[in-house]
């Protein structure tokens, strides 16, 4: 994706061209089918937490529709006011960049509230693309995406440091399992699984304990699962960042890529990557599916008496509503705790934590995401749980921050960490 700076075109021209190119049949349908009935209003966590017009899904999408009608709809071109185009295109554009990044977490919840199934999140994704190409995207997300690409370009600089750090983590795993044979292999050719963590020990140590306990053939690579270009809806950079892991898996000749508890990382690798690379020569699964399989097959044994505190589960939008992973974490949690309590609503109708789609990465948006997460905080409180399990690192950080902000006094943890605590 080229930015306006690179192309020398004005923002309006870039927006028009991109809107023309990016609106495929699915997005066209989402743009045209809405009748502005407003029934989606309460489905949005932004609106529920702060009820105002700008927080309704149909307001957000309507802003993009106005831009689209102004450029492409015969009626909109001939009689813009008749179809609601009141503002100038420049005014709409500047509003939209903020709406697309800070007022919608692309959670897709409103899609299931709409009688037609309008995919407002897909419309917002197009808008993020346009904002990115017109240099209106949040700087932090751009920097993080660029850093991931730079890491691949300079992998040799990091390799030895990374291996040394992993050796230190390996000692912790050995201590925990009481076995000097426990290992954290790095770039080991022929391993059955390439496990892709995040850039933190909390996404390596628990999983390494579980892999060792299950006697799995696995290895770490050099790269992590997070892909900030996905939040920018920048397909070129997203493909490049995802491609790092795919190249690794091919080089190491693994049979599977296992993505850590990371919502967008899983969805991108499992569902989006084949659009860019064609069908992948290996299976892609979430660590949740793997741990669930270990429990069901008896490769690890969990003792629920080790976790007595009331526990609830937050469905990550990417893993649940966009990835179909609802049952797997619940089966593991039920095997690992004595007192499991569902939030209401949950699963398909679960509310976003308020930090999805990159919001958690931008420090300036702390107030926005604390407000957007108010509903989730209330849900957690209603369960009476003191432990909140979530399968996405963004959600986990948000639940922790919400706990502090709203005085919930809950601990946020992951499915893998919970399973490790329950290991018999």
């Amino acid at each position: 994706m080229s930015s306006t700076v690179e192309t020398g075109k004005d923002k309006l021209t870039v927006a028009r061209e991109m809107l023309g190119n990016l609106v495929d049949r699915r997005v066209l349908t989402a743009l045209e089918v809405c009748v502005r009935c407003g029934i989606c209003t309460e489905s949005c966590h932004y609106y529920q937490s702060n009820p105002k017009t700008e927080h309704t899904p149909y307001y957000r999408a309507e802003m993009v529709r106005r831009l689209y009608r102004r450029f492409f709809d015969p009626m909109g071109r001939a009689f813009p006011r008749w179809v609601g185009v009141k503002e100038s295109t420049n005014e709409i554009l500047s509003k939209l960049a903020e709406i697309a990044f800070a007022s919608c977490t692309l959670c897709h919840r409103c899609t299931f509230a709409c009688p037609f199934g309008v995919e407002t999140a897909e419309i917002m994704r197009i808008m993020r693309s346009i904002a990115t190409a017109t240099d209106n995207a949040p700087e932090m997300l751009v920097e993080l995406a660029n850093a991931a690409i730079a890491k691949e370009e300079n992998a040799e600089l990091f390799r030895d440091i990374y291996r040394d750090q992993v050796k230190e983590l390996e000692k912790e795993v050995q201590d925990r399992l009481g076995s000097s044979k426990a290992r954290i292999p790095v770039e080991e050719k022929g391993a059955r699984m390439l496990y892709v963590p995040l850039a933190g020990a909390h996404t390596i140590i628990p999983q390494a304990i579980l892999f060792n306990a299950a006697k799995e053939s696995w290895t770490l690579g050099m790269f992590e699962s997070s892909n900030y270009a996905v939040f920018l809806a920048d397909d070129i950079k997203s493909k490049r960042i995802t491609g790092r892991v795919i190249k690794e898996a091919q080089k190491l000749n693994t049979e599977e890529i296992i993505v850590t508890e990371c919502g967008h990382g899983y969805t991108t690798m499992r569902w989006e990557a084949p659009k860019w690379f064609g069908q992948l020569p290996f299976r892609v699964r979430s660590i949740l599916e793997v741990v669930d399989e270990y429990v069901r097959e008896g490769r690890i044994h969990l003792d629920s008496s080790k976790n007595g505190q009331p526990t609830t589960y937050h469905d990550s939008c990417n893993l649940g509503r966009k990835g179909g992973i609802f049952d797997e974490p619940r089966r593991v949690i039920r095997a690992a705790v004595k007192d499991f309590r569902e939030m209401t609503p949950n699963r398909l109708e679960s509310y976003c934590c308020g930090a999805g789609s990159g919001l958690v990465a931008e420090p300036e948006w702390m107030d926005i995401r604390m407000q957007a997460g108010k509903l989730k905080a209330e849900q957690v409180q209603h369960t009476g749980a003191s432990l909140v399990i979530t399968s996405c690192d963004n959600c986990r950080q948000q639940i922790g921050d919400l706990s502090e902000h709203y005085g919930l006094n809950v601990e946020a943890s992951s499915v893998s960490e919970l399973a490790v605590k329950a290991l018999a």
Partner: protein, 210 residues
């Protein structure tokens, strides 16, 4: 056929031609847009997802919004059933005299209720500040057209003297449909298919709801 009947009948026919051409144009234009097929291995059947999207996925208990706003849900169902039946009635209307009275009364009742609920749409749109802000002249005009379409259908089902008015209003409604908001009906099936395929293959759609 008198001149008072021929002119409205002509309007209806011209409207129908514009409607068909407009719908075909929209469908061709939509088909020309690219469609990115998902290539990832499926988790569950996309075909079953489409079946779900057109059946249980539209059931009131499957949608939080319908559970919360069940009156709006029922209103929408009645208006849309009324419009589709009224469209069939329009085609059959030259043979109105051959329809039995109980059928005509039933149709009039359906169209009449639909028209009243259509009129209620103006109140709903104007009463809610967000809806008022986002509603366009096209929204009000389209709502007025379908309300008149249903009202004139109800009147003519009872009293055939109203048929010319029904034909004229139908012609205008049909001619406008491909240009304004009414065209959403063309995209409805597309949207349900996309929802079914996309979320179905990912194993997201839940056949039972807790």
């Amino acid at each position: 056929m008198s001149i008072l009947q021929m002119v409205p009948a002509g309007i209806a026919l011209v409207g129908a031609v514009i409607f068909v051409v407009g719908v075909v144009y929209i469908l061709v234009a939509a088909q020309r847009r690219p469609y990115l097929s998902e290539l990832a291995p499926i988790k569950r059947s996309p075909g079953l997802g489409v079946v779900y999207a057109f059946t249980l996925g539209m059931a009131p208990w499957a949608k939080e919004s319908a559970r919360r706003h069940w009156i709006a849900y029922i209103r929408g169902i009645i208006i849309h059933v009324g419009i589709f039946v009224a469209a069939a009635f329009l085609i059959a209307s030259p043979w109105l005299a051959q329809m039995v009275l109980p059928l005509r009364i039933s149709l009039a009742a359906l169209f009449g209720v639909g028209a009243v609920l259509g009129m209620a749409g103006f109140r709903i749109r104007l009463a809610d500040p967000t809806m008022r802000l986002l509603s366009t002249p096209d929204d009000y005009f389209s709502l007025a057209l379908v309300t008149l379409f249903l009202a004139s259908g109800a009147a003519s089902a009872i009293k055939p003297d109203f048929l010319p008015a029904f034909w004229a209003i139908s012609g205008i409604t049909l001619a406008y449909a491909p240009f304004g908001k009414i065209k959403h009906f063309i995209y409805f099936a597309y949207e349900r298919v996309f929802i079914g395929l996309f979320f179905g293959r990912r194993g997201v759609l839940e056949w039972t709801h807790e």
